[in-house]
């Protein structure tokens, strides 16, 4: 058997000590081993050791999400996440969870528009168990009418419960339809009740056999492991799974035409008027994305950020404020959602936001404020390595979006080098009227 790895590398990200601290800060913070290779069936493997505690985390990511759903079949990706816990050839219904729970581990899963993750942290002596479980559901998921019905009921129940508990939920879906131009990007991840009811066993089997295949998966192990043994286990459990067909191309990520959109939604369920304001910003692959991320922190990521300070604390124009950058594959948007006490406040609140944006267009942000924003970003960035699971998820997501780790060692530094003039530049470039979408939510 030819176990030829296409691509193997390991790098230590430590820089020599004498490098100037300010320059080296980014790299110095990420001193851990990392290696990546490909199994012969196309599955991507990332390994990152950490021996501090007897724990190991495993993430299995499938490069699929609601973006891959067809019209009339919404909710399929999320439904399949649920079905992945309903049993496979050698693991009965819900047994995956109970195997992991019994040994003190914690399992979970998460579906987004552009990827689906399954993950668990377990005592390090149980790595083989996790790989056995994950490989069984990758190879032989049990999709039958009875467990499909159960999964559908669960999902529909969740939709109904969320709609009852989150009065603004519907408005987020409506807003996405204005913000994104095509169906793939704009429809809600949780799907529509009607579509879910119509999903058949064949639909699920098709989706599973197309996307839940080794050549569409990334597996990351982070934590306390013997790397040689880990590779042997991966070869045994995963390399023996047949490669799937070539993957269908993604729907094109069309940029919506540049045109200001102002819409109103009248809703009898909402307790207060509110609004969504969004900007279509640069693709996550663009160089502007670094400055846009820092801008996110300047505007609304902390209690002393510009919008939070002005709208919530000083002028009390809104009693809820949230948002920030959101990525769906390469399309990125900047969203702001505010809830106000009354209509007059909605108006004042929007004016205040525009005035803050205009300030950023015309004057440089003070050095001290920029540094604070970068430090908050840096802290969040570093926290993504705080536990073995955090690290495994971060490495997996980095790989999914960049396809390699070439830029990874210098990535943090790139954010920390953003200058005041770059901020002025991106605000002027992207935070324009013709890039904006405003959805006012009025009480019926």
């Amino acid at each position: 058997m030819f176990l030829k790895r296409l691509f193997i590398f390991t790098f230590a990200l430590l820089l020599p000590l004498e490098t100037a601290p300010a320059e080296a800060q980014g790299q110095k913070n990420l001193s851990f081993p990392l290696s990546h290779y490909e199994l012969k069936n196309g599955m991507q493997v990332i390994l990152s050791e950490d021996y501090s505690l007897p724990l190991v985390s495993v993430v299995v990511a499938y490069n699929v999400g609601s973006l891959n759903e067809q019209q009339g079949k919404t909710g399929l990706a999320y439904l399949l996440e649920n079905l992945m816990f309903q049993g496979s050839q050698n693991v009965s219904q819900m047994q995956h969870i109970s195997y992991i729970n019994r040994i003190g581990g914690i399992p979970n899963a998460d579906t987004k528009e552009d990827r689906t993750l399954f993950y668990q942290t377990v005592p390090s002596n149980q790595l083989a168990l996790v790989l056995w479980l994950e490989s069984d559901r990758m190879k032989s998921l049990d999709i039958n009418p009875s467990n499909l019905e159960q999964a559908k009921e669960a999902l529909i129940g969740e939709i109904q419960q969320r709609k009852a508990n989150e009065p603004y939920l519907e408005s987020f879906f409506v807003f996405d339809q204005f913000l994104f131009s095509d169906f793939a990007y704009s429809h809600p991840l949780i799907g529509s009740e009607e579509d879910i009811r119509n999903i058949t066993v064949e639909d699920v089997k098709d989706f599973y056999s197309t996307f839940y295949v080794p050549n569409n998966a990334v597996l990351c192990i982070a934590g306390n492991m013997n790397k040689i043994k880990a590779k042997e286990l991966l070869a045994k459990y995963f390399e023996t799974i047949l490669k799937g067909k070539d993957l269908p191309p993604l729907p094109p990520s069309k940029l919506p035409e540049k045109k200001e959109v102002i819409e109103t939604l009248k809703d009898s369920l909402v307790p207060s008027p509110a609004f969504h304001l969004g900007y279509r910003i640069a693709s996550s692959r663009s160089n502007d994305f670094y400055a846009l991320t820092v801008l996110d922190y300047i505007l609304l990521r902390s209690k002393s950020s510009r919008l939070y300070k002005r709208l919530i604390k000083k002028e009390r124009l809104a009693y809820h404020l949230s948002g920030g950058i959101e990525k769906r594959k390469e399309l990125a948007t900047f969203k702001i959602f505010a809830i106000n006490n009354n209509e007059a406040m909605v108006d004042l609140c929007q004016k205040a936001i525009f005035s803050e944006i205009n300030k950023l267009k015309s004057s440089f942000i003070p050095e001290e404020e920029l540094e604070k924003s970068k430090n908050l970003f840096k802290m969040d960035y570093l926290r993504r390595f705080a536990t073995s699971l955090d690290r495994a998820i971060f490495l997996t997501e980095t790989f999914l979006s960049q396809k390699n780790f070439e830029n990874f060692p210098s990535e943090l530094d790139r954010y920390l080098k953003v200058t005041p003039s770059e901020i002025v530049g991106i605000v002027n470039r992207y935070f324009t009227r013709e890039n904006s979408v405003l959805l006012n939510i009025k009480m019926k």
Partner: protein
Amino acid sequence: MRKKLFLLVILLSLRTPLFSQERFRKSPPFPEPLQELRLPPIESAILTNGLTLSLVFRENLSLISLQLVILAGESSSPPNLPGMATFTANMLDRGTLSLSSSRIEETIESTGGDFSISTSLDYSSFTLNFLEEYIDKALDILSKMILQPAFLEREIENVKRTMFYDLLDKAKDPEFLAKRLLLQLLFKNHPYSKISFNEDFIKNMSQKDVLSFFDKYYRPNNAILVLSGNLNLTTASKKVSHYLNTWENKDLERSFLPPPPPNDKEKVCFIDLPQAKDCTIYLGNVVLPITSPDFFPFIVLNQVLGGTPNSRLFMNLRESKGYAYFAFSDVEFYKSCGVFFVKTKVTPEVAYTSIQEILKEIRSVIEEKISTFEIEQAKSYLIGNFPLKIERFDNFSSKISDIKAFRLGEEHWNKYYENIMLIDSEKVFEVAQKYPLLTPIIVVVGDKNVVIESLKDFEKVEVYNSKGILQYTLTKGEDK
């Protein structure tokens, strides 16, 4: 024809891997031998003003977690001012002689950091996380908060308002109400009862009270500072001394707090929460403190009963009977005692039956020895789960604070694996007999109109309002 068919079968079986699979897929692999648990090294020193400094060495991440523990929690609040310890703690970041509260917030954020406050029965703790290159800035702001607090009237009013609305908001949560009343009744007449303060007490707080509480308890000889990060003790001691050496110590009378007596007769209490769809039940009693030699067997016992969805309570009330959304048990440990409690959320009609099922499960661990298989499963969960609980910096710092505040000795957590491994069915059986698990206080929270009917089989039900004040008592057979 026959031959052709035979060939087809072979071809089919080759092409459909579902029908034939490798042997190793059929059953789960055996685990490797368990790896040793080595906790990060901890070093401690006492500074000249009496401040205990503990250092947890962690090299992997470039951030530092600082935890300041003041050994005064709600049990130290004045008898007429329950909530005072929490209130004073909440005042700490509300302004110093030179910095406004928003300036403090900005300074902390400029280190990439965040600040959080929590108060328990025995101590108040302050957590400050920051990027390691800002250690001086972080210690500087911490020292200003401790050495030069302003306690301005305006800020006192702000904290009052925030705490008042926060408590009002929490009072909508049936689990919060149930637990608060359970602790209030278990700790009746004991200094621990002050933890159950409600929003009415907040308005009584004055600047004078805050100053006097602060002056008495916020002293270096009554405090522990835990730093986790890539630091050594010498550097850390120097830095901490530099910023906090003018913090003056003061003699403090430390009285021994005896444990509250356990509840000795089953007692049923009800809180009406109009429009609550479900019925929330908390029941429990006073048990051993964390320092007790029974600690390890008791947590194994708790695990078997209700630690996870695989435990007896969940399997019975949810999986088998379908009464409950969840059913767990837990033990919280304080300096003088622990509290063992069961919590569940059930449909209102089965409130009475659910309580009987819970008591039946408790009775069964007292009357019959738990099988070795079940004990081993519980142990395997506890051993596997422990490192997950301490993986985060701040979680581990809390464990270190416990060691210092409760005088546990480092081997308490260091020898966790060994101590759990030693537990067997016999030891668990012994501790199950020892504590009054069958005479709990039972608190039921739900909508009176739908729940009360199902409680009519109890001899007596005390009805409380959401503030924990007794309204009236229902007696079996009598109408109210």
